[in-house]
Symmetry: C2
């Protein structure tokens, strides 16, 4: 089956709270000629997520209150990309700023759109290996953030038991586990 893209005929902005968020609507034409008015679009700003492992196989974890879920969550280094910044550069910067670690090997795991219908933002996610402490972590801006190491197997258990409340973080971690499992399969061939 051929899947043809929709065509945007016009676009308006309803709400602008730059640099954080813009919301608007567009008029779109479907491949069969139907025209849909008032289809929403969102723009949040693209961001990166990093799952970083030390040489000993520990995962660099963070924990803080997050106001999105209104809950405390286990999480991983992440943050907004700066204007003009490449995803890998943003990932390295966020790992260093949030945790004080650098890493020797970086594997991009893909880019994923936050909202299937409206766009919103792209998340770029990375697996970093060979992480070593380099400097003190910056304090959080608004949240008090704990940084700590957890063995990989224990991190998986905590993720499966629901300690990560954030969709972006559970996606980055689970995808990193799929990727590690595949490279394990290949290495044992």
């Amino acid at each position: 089956m051929t899947h043809r893209p929709w065509r945007t005929l016009s676009r308006t902005t309803l709400l602008s709270r730059l640099p954080w968020l813009e919301v608007g609507t567009e008029t779109v034409e479907l491949p069969d000629g139907r025209v849909v008015e008032d289809y929403l679009w969102l723009d949040h700003g693209d961001f990166v997520n990093v799952v970083a492992l030390t040489a000993q196989g520990d995962v660099i974890c963070l924990r803080s209150y997050r106001h999105g879920p209104r809950e405390v969550s286990l999480q991983f280094p992440a943050g907004l990309m700066e204007p003009g910044e490449e995803p890998l550069a943003a990932a390295k910067r966020e790992l260093l700023e949030e945790t004080g670690y650098t890493a020797s090997r970086w594997l991009p795991l893909g880019r994923f759109c936050l909202d299937s219908n409206w766009g919103g933002a792209w998340m770029h996610t990375f697996l970093a290996q060979g992480a070593v402490p380099q400097q003190a972590a910056d304090d959080g801006d608004l949240e008090d953030i704990e940084v700590f190491l957890l063995p990989l197997a224990e991190t998986k258990e905590r993720v499966l038991s629901g300690e990560v409340k954030l969709l972006t973080h559970v996606a980055a971690f689970s995808l990193a586990m799929m990727s590690l499992e595949r490279s394990g399969d290949r290495n044992s061939d």
Copy 2:
């Protein structure tokens, strides 16, 4: 470290496009007493995602153009919860409506907040096993949707090679793989 929640002191609505989206700001008080004005909140509506396997170990896949990423994406059954609907009921309904399948075993994999800062929505994700065809799938509303079965190993490869462009879908699938891997580990103990 104790992580105390923020307190919402007041809340305004900036944009209302019900039943799809509301956006507003709130004034929040941090645990250290600082007050932050104009902190954004979003409300998209909660939704479900389902990774469904047949008894033969095939994954029920969908493929269509999605206007969020402006790309064609491999994906899995998913959709908005209806008002008052329980997550499991919504998951069963979406699987049946989108694919025509029912499933005999349902495992909840957790609930995850779409936007770490602003909330947005909760995604409830499920692993369904023993899926069997029951009726014809409904046609898509706006998109032309293909429904097909793929072997589990091939689905993993396609996900890792970037055929899923949607964050919610890659999260649901990778998490389901972590859960299956754990139950495999336990069964082989």
